[in-house]
Amino acid sequence: MSGMLRKTGSAALVLGLFALTGTGLVAIVHGTTAERIADNERKALLHGIHALVPPAEIDNDPLADTVELTAPEAFGSEQPVTVYRARKGGREIAVVFTVVAPDGYSGAIRMLVGIRADGRLAGVRVVAHRETPGLGDKIEARKSDWIRDFDNRSLRDPKADGWAVKKDGGVFDQFTGATITPRAVVAAVHRALRYYASHREAMFLVAQREESTDG
């Protein structure tokens, strides 16, 4: 009996040692890469913002000039959404924020929407989606120019009933074999524009000064 106990005990000890070593390895790698990974994510986000609002047009750091807003209906997300603000000489140039279209063909479509101070779209870029390759993935800027059709659009161009795909009587193209995907994107961009129109001040409001507390 005690022999078996000892066997089991030593097996448990060996297993525990391996768990500890494995966790240690992961912890060390995490420690050495965490900064670089955060930096990568920062750069990728800044790259995405600059694709919508060219760096030459602004003189602030949009990643440091942010405000968190919660509006599940407009943003398609229960979580607070970070709004990045682009300014030049203190003047408002544009806001960039993430919008989710929950009704894509295979789940949510995340996109970065940029809106200029005058209410025109600086542009839209899809950040993450699981739409069908070859059909719905034409919403990606590198696969087709479709997403660029949003550039310079606003709530006046087209009017409200034009904010739909052509099949539904709107002005935006659908894709051959894929209507659900562009329909979801158009609706989400329209929601973002309407939110901006009614919350312009809140979106550009200068952030509270104690932003360093939560890093």
Partner: protein, 231 residues
């Protein structure tokens, strides 16, 4: 312990006992990521790195770990390496990680890795275990690249598109547009295309094997002489 026949180890990993085409192991990542050459190569290399880490480690600890707990220990070892490599890819190959991201953790579930740990590494010294990892990894990577190339060609009409994700921005011009103005063949790009493509490649391998057997004029392939590697 018997003398290890390195030629045989290499030949098994690359061809005779290829993880993807013969053992049909690790199909989940195989089918999910092989939409293009770059994705296949990226996941293949990541899998090879995990194989090297796990095979060598398992070989080093083969005298320490009792057989009752060897499987949980193997799983711990493999999971640790996979997580470490996922973090390293996120840090140093960020763009490729954006593409392959969700499939990297799935390497843990690739039975080929625990299969090599159990059937080879736990019974051999670190040297042969390393060679076995390299050969198995290369065989698996080759399978992913061939299937990825086939699907990329049929699905989009290109080869080597987006290689810059893996090799750096200097290689963005590698894309070969094999079929200009190609409309794309959707089936090849979708998951069923992966199954069909894999089926054809397995069949092709069997045809080649049979040809070689016939040419050798004997039914059983001679395995005692491991100096030549048949490709």
């Amino acid at each position: 312990m018997a003398e290890v026949n390195y030629g045989q180890v290499v030949r098994d990993g690359l061809w005779t006992n290829n993880a993807a085409f013969v053992q049909l192991l690790g199909l989940c990542p195989l089918l999910a990521v092989t939409g293009s050459v770059v994705n296949g190569l990226g996941l293949g290399l990541a899998t090879t790195l995990v194989l090297i880490g796990s095979n060598v480690t398992v070989s080093l600890i083969r005298g320490v770990v009792r057989s009752e707990i060897r499987i949980p220990v193997f799983v711990l070892v493999i999971a640790s390496f996979v997580t470490a490599i996922e973090l390293l890819m996120n840090a140093y190959l960020y763009q490729l990680y954006q593409v392959l991201g969700i499939f990297i953790p799935l390497i843990v579930t690739n039975c080929a890795i625990i299969g090599r740990a159990e059937s080879f590494a736990s019974r051999h010294a670190p040297g042969p275990a390393l060679i076995d990892a390299l050969a198995t990894g290369a065989g698996f990577t080759a399978a992913l690249v061939v299937l990825g190339g086939l699907r990329e060609l049929l699905g989009q009409g290109t080869l080597l598109a987006q290689m810059e994700l893996l090799l750096g921005d200097g290689f963005s011009g590698l894309t070969l547009t094999v079929l200009p103005d190609y409309r794309g063949f959707l089936l090849a790009a979708l998951p069923p295309g992966a199954f069909i493509g894999l089926g054809f490649l397995v069949a092709l391998k069997n045809v080649i094997d049979r040809r070689m057997e016939r040419r050798a004029g004997i039914k059983s392939i001679e395995i005692t002489n491991g100096t030549t590697v048949e490709e």
